[in-house]
């Protein structure tokens, strides 16, 4: 019985660890500030929402078919690609952003978009496409390949099988991956600060937190924090 209570103790510590800061910050939240800074907050929300939506759709467009190919087809170099599938997921966003920064700053065609809102989308894409690919690969791997075989045997071509069988089967997986990706894109900070910088015209919600904190405006930062917490809670429920 003694050691069982130890197990529950760990849960209690964990709960306090996350809930205490949240509750404390809720007390500190100065709602009157929302009205003062309404324009500013609204602009950050708008920028976060539009860039995250764009980058999620682009990453789905590239990631879903790629994941399907990786899950279903054999091709030269497949095992190499599969081994390094997780690398972009575990490389920290700051590092990932820096790699793109080097490429962009030294390439004429791309250098113009650095430190503009387009750079935000590139930063989010870099982080989110890897996540979509990883999640969708798992989704397709979990669909028994026999579903494909049956459709082939009934006269459907590989492309028809993808559209008529695997996409509908993966529907729930695609939706939940998209939600997760969107949330990650909306909260992206490391790659964004590197590629788009921290200035007023690229002020997404996470960047605005950083900017407010850098001028010690904690209650201003908290408004953006709670918008992001709200998005997080909405995403998981």
């Amino acid at each position: 019985m003694r050691s069982q209570s130890l197990l529950y103790l760990s849960l209690a510590i964990l709960f306090l660890f996350y809930v205490l800061p949240l509750l404390f910050a809720l007390f500190k939240l100065d709602l009157s500030k929302i009205f003062v800074e309404f324009d500013e907050v609204a602009r950050a929300i708008f920028l976060s929402v539009t860039t995250a939506t764009f980058s999620t759709f682009i990453s789905l467009f590239i990631g879903v078919p790629s994941a399907y190919i990786l899950s279903r087809r054999e091709f030269p170099g497949k095992s190499f690609v599969e081994t390094f599938l997780d690398v972009p997921v575990v490389i920290p966003p700051v590092a990932l952003g820096t790699l793109f920064l080097v490429l962009f700053s030294e390439t004429q065609a791309f250098s113009g978009i650095l430190f503009t809102p387009y750079a935000i989308i590139v930063a989010q894409l870099a982080v989110v496409t890897a996540i979509i690919l990883r999640l969708m690969k798992t989704v397709f791997d979990q669909i028994d390949v026999s579903y494909d075989y049956v459709a082939r045997s009934l006269g459907y071509t590989p492309a028809e099988v993808f559209l008529k069988v695997d996409l509908p089967m993966a529907k729930n997986g695609i939706i939940s991956s998209a939600i997760l990706a969107w949330t990650r894109a909306a909260g992206e900070f490391g790659a964004t600060i590197v590629l788009a910088g921290a200035s007023k015209n690229v002020e997404t919600l996470p960047i605005s937190i950083y900017l407010k904190l850098s001028v010690a405006d904690i209650s201003g930062a908290l408004i953006s924090v709670f918008v992001l917490v709200g998005i997080g809670i909405a995403a998981v429920t």
Binding site: Y147, Y149, R152, S153, L154, M169
Partner: protein
């Protein structure tokens, strides 16, 4: 109809080697064997999702070895059935036959007794209903051959016989050509015309079902089909010396052999009753050691000269002969059906 010529293929750790056979129109070929014998790889090669390493596959005389599955007209029903959960039953059937009329959908559904399910969502079906839908979907494609992989697995014993006899009826009425893979030899016997026994990727015996079941040609097939009385011996003409005693056979053999007798071919000789012709040979005296009861028949274990012999007898025979009273008591005379004794040279 469907003809395999020395097909070798491999998928993961499973492989098949030099598999050749033929399925005629309206015929059912059952491939049986233990798990891991390459049965699923074989059927996936026939369907076309596994490419053979060597050999040829012909369908109606045409070489289809390099055709993709969608051009073969071989409808596949895999082990997990793969009824599409996001479609209704009707949509599943329609998926099989693209431009099929509603009357045709109903006809197929009626044949498989799922007419009342047409509007149901496929994911709400029971296992047995899914089996019917998967077969209906395959029929709707109007294929040359239907390839079934353990499609009747997991049914209750009491519903299984019904499903099998219904499928056999549909198969005979529609003159379907079927290749069926299963580990259940009773299912194979109920459905098939020809049977092919596989182990470790190779065909061990292929022939009419009666021939395979009652005349196994090698040790593996005999043991797989339940010939569980095995005696090693030395044959000389139609006499074989074994641990059990002298066993007489109709055919001639010489040298070291293994003798196989199925429990259903072991009989108990009634005291005081004249022997019927054909069983006056191969009579042994033994002690009844154990009775393992099953609802319809019992397995009886005898000890003859220190060797255990198993007999399977219908329960009414066990009752009529009052065998329970003989347990570990006075000896019983048992006889082996001479015509059913299998002798395999070593």
């Amino acid at each position: 109809m469907l003809k395999l010529e020395k097909i070798s293929a491999r998928k993961g750790k499973f492989e098949i080697r030099d598999v050749s056979f033929q399925v005629e129109e309206g015929e059912v070929l059952a491939v049986i064997g233990p798990s891991g014998s390459g049965k699923t790889t074989l059927i996936e090669t026939i369907v076309g999702v596994v490419r053979p390493i060597s050999g040829r596959i012909f369908l109606k005389g045409k070489d289809v070895t390099n055709l993709p599955p969608e051009k073969r007209k071989i409808a596949y029903v895999p082990q997990n059935l793969c009824v599409y959960p996001f479609m209704s039953v009707e949509e599943n059937i329609r998926f099989g036959g693209r431009n099929i009329s509603f009357e045709e959908v109903r006809r197929i559904a009626r044949m498989l007794r799922i007419e009342h399910l047409l509007d149901r969502e496929a994911k709400s079906l029971s296992g047995g209903e899914q089996q019917r839908v998967a077969i209906a979907r395959a029929l709707a494609a109007n294929p040359e051959v239907i390839a079934l992989d353990e499609a009747f697995r997991g049914l209750d014993i009491s519903t299984k016989e019904g499903v099998l006899s219904e499928f056999k009826e549909v198969q005979e009425n529609e003159r379907l050509s079927v290749i069926l893979v299963t580990h259940d030899f009773e299912e194979a016997y109920a459905l098939a015309d020809k049977i092919c026994v596989m182990n470790e990727g190779r065909i061990l015996q292929l022939g009419d079902k009666e021939d395979v079941f009652f005349n196994p040609k090698n040790e593996f097939v005999a043991e797989f089909l339940g010939y569980s009385n095995v005696f090693e011996g030395y044959a000389n003409g139609n006499v074989i010396e074994t641990d059990l005693g002298i066993i007489k056979t109709f055919e001639q053999h010489t040298g070291k052999v293994k003798v196989y007798v199925h429990p259903r071919d072991v009989m108990v000789v009634r005291e005081g009753k004249p022997l019927r012709r054909g069983i006056e040979e191969n009579i042994f005296e033994g002690v009844l050691k154990e009775i393992i009861e099953k609802p319809n028949s019992s397995l009886i274990l005898f000890d003859v000269n220190g060797v255990t012999i198993k007999a399977e007898l219908p329960n009414y025979v066990v009752e009529r002969l009052r065998l329970k009273e003989f347990l570990n008591k006075k000896p019983v005379r048992i006889s082996l059906k001479t015509g059913r004794i299998i002798v395999i040279s070593k």
